[in-house]
Amino acid sequence: MTNRDPEPVGPVAWVDGHASDGMLASYAAGTVETIEVWSVEAHLTGCGRCRSAVSAHVDAARLARNRSVLLSRAALGDGGRVRRLLCRCGLPDYLLDLVAATPSLRVSWLLSVVGVLAVVAGEAAAVRYHLIGGGYPVAAGYWPAGALAPFLLVGPLLVLAGVAAAFLPMFDPAYQLTVAAPFSSVKLLLVRTIAALTAALVPVVIGAFVVPGPGWLPVALLVPSLALCTFALAAATVVDARAAAVIAGTLWALPALLLAANHVPLRIVQPSAQLACAAVLLASAVVLYLRHDRFELGWMR
């Protein structure tokens, strides 16, 4: 009851140690000074008679409104420590709420974790039972290079799939509301993409540490992953978003499979390939920048 901006009124009365009716009415209307509010509230906590009397003066509609606001604030919560920390770092809180509310991020994360675990476990099993072989030995010398091929193929594709899950309309049940809303589609897309990229990259990079490849493998996966996602976004300004994701995936899968078939799977992440990926990343970023208005204020696709 203290959340108000009281305007002082004339002297308020206390009668026989109780608040007068006029005082209680002023208190309920929010027109007594702050110091008097404290006095009244201190008194009300210990006096049943005055509590009963004040309820007759309370504006029921205002009370219901306040109660409703309290309920919804309690339901929304404060977002926890991470959110508070990120807010302190200067990130706008509505963007954090937007990221937290993006359901497809769970899909991105789950897809990536499950995918990486499946590939790594599959590779380990294949090596153990001598299903994979050939090629020259990797730096660690324990596993044949061929064992890396599935991870090199799937890792960046998982990141792409995670990002696609964040921007494809089919993963957004409330897509029609998103289209009909005035919030910048480009901003929404970028926020979701960055969040999904982070969520999907973490398991892939951890997986890259686990598989017995060269020490630089985790870093070497970053540029191709970023290039694929940026290419998919840029392509989505030209063709349907689903088709864009499929094209991007194919552009990675084909050379990865070809190199694996020739027993040189690591070439897909070696310097020449890194340069090619960096060029794709740069070109896609430019296209995305130039054509970003295709995402903005669009019709439903």
């Binding site: 409104r65 309920l71 309690a74 409330a174 809303a181 204020l297």
Partner: protein, 292 residues
């Protein structure tokens, strides 16, 4: 709204020669409509083009041809489309939800999309619309735990966020029980600021109860536009009540009182002429369109 003032001196919503096809299906065929502020009911069977028309007015669907003006703004222009969206509350016909959301969380998410950036203001707005649809006690409930009627009320609540000047509601009373429908009618009638409200429904009694204007859409074309009383009047002298069925009538059905109601050109034997309702007028228009 700083630079672009709303032009409401003419019709609040004007549609001229609007057409939209989905492959071989013509959803809207040269539709012309002029709507003023207040509540307009769009009546028509499934597949009549109601949802397509509403989605075009809500700027999520693009027409093939024709001209649309909403609050004096042209949705073909990107900047004006943004202004329309800033004034818009939209309930799609089949609103799907992120099922893990809580009720308040979902509304908070939609409030952000509606550019209500301030967290405190959002909480107040969420509380306001929850109270308006009677879901304030469900603020912390997950959407997957809500009944169909509650989800529909949540859909209505999200459309009310930001006190829109233009409210487009596609089948808002679907799934609501009679008491909730009454409450919904009150809610719409009490909205402040005289917003433009366009709603579609199969329920002729909803139209009769709250809509000063009704548009009947059949097979993608406007077959009637006027007041509910005028729609009912189109069936004047053609609706009879009788104890038995009349095979010559255009339409016959048995009412709750056990008597048969007939719509036709000739009265059946022993029938008495009755005062037509909005539903009679709609059914007659529907029959006439089907006969064409």
């Amino acid at each position: 709204m700083d630079e672009m003032t709303l032009n409401v001196s003419t019709a609040a919503v004007q549609v001229d020669g609007l057409s939209r096809r989905y492959g071989a299906i013509r959803a809207l065929d040269e539709v012309d409509i002029k709507l003023d502020r207040g509540i307009t009911g769009l009546l028509g069977p499934n597949g009549a083009g109601k949802t397509t028309l509403l989605s075009i007015l809500a700027t999520v669907n693009e027409p093939d041809s024709g001209r649309v003006s909403v609050l004096g703004l042209d949705p073909r222009d990107a900047a004006e489309r943004l202004e329309i969206r800033r004034c818009l509350g939209y309930l799609p016909q089949e609103l799907r939800y992120h099922r893990h959301f809580t009720v308040a969380g979902f509304l908070d998410y939609v409030a952000i999309l509606k550019e209500i950036i301030d967290r405190r203001q959002r909480a107040e707005e969420v509380a306001r619309v929850l109270a308006a649809v009677g879901l304030e006690r469900r603020a912390r409930t997950r959407i997957r735990a809500l009944s169909g009627g509650m989800r529909q009320r949540l859909g209505i609540a999200q459309a009310l966020l930001g006190q829109p000047q233009l409210l487009i509601l596609d089948e808002p009373t679907a799934g609501l029980d009679p008491e909730q429908r009454l409450r919904f009618r009150e809610l719409l009638s009490d909205l402040p600021g005289d917003p433009v409200i366009v709603l579609s429904t199969h329920q002729a009694d909803d139209i009769a109860a709250i809509c000063p204007t009704v548009v009947v859409l059949l097979q993608g074309r406007v077959r009637f536009a006027g007041t509910p009383a005028e729609l009912a009047a189109t069936a004047r002298g053609r609706v009879w009540a009788a104890d038995g069925r009349n095979p010559d009538a255009h339409l016959s059905w048995r009412g709750g009182d056990g008597r048969w109601r007939h719509i036709g050109d000739q009265p059946p034997a022993g029938a008495e002429l009755v005062v037509p309702t909005v539903e009679d007028g709609y059914l007659l228009a529907s029959h006439a369109a089907g006969a064409r």
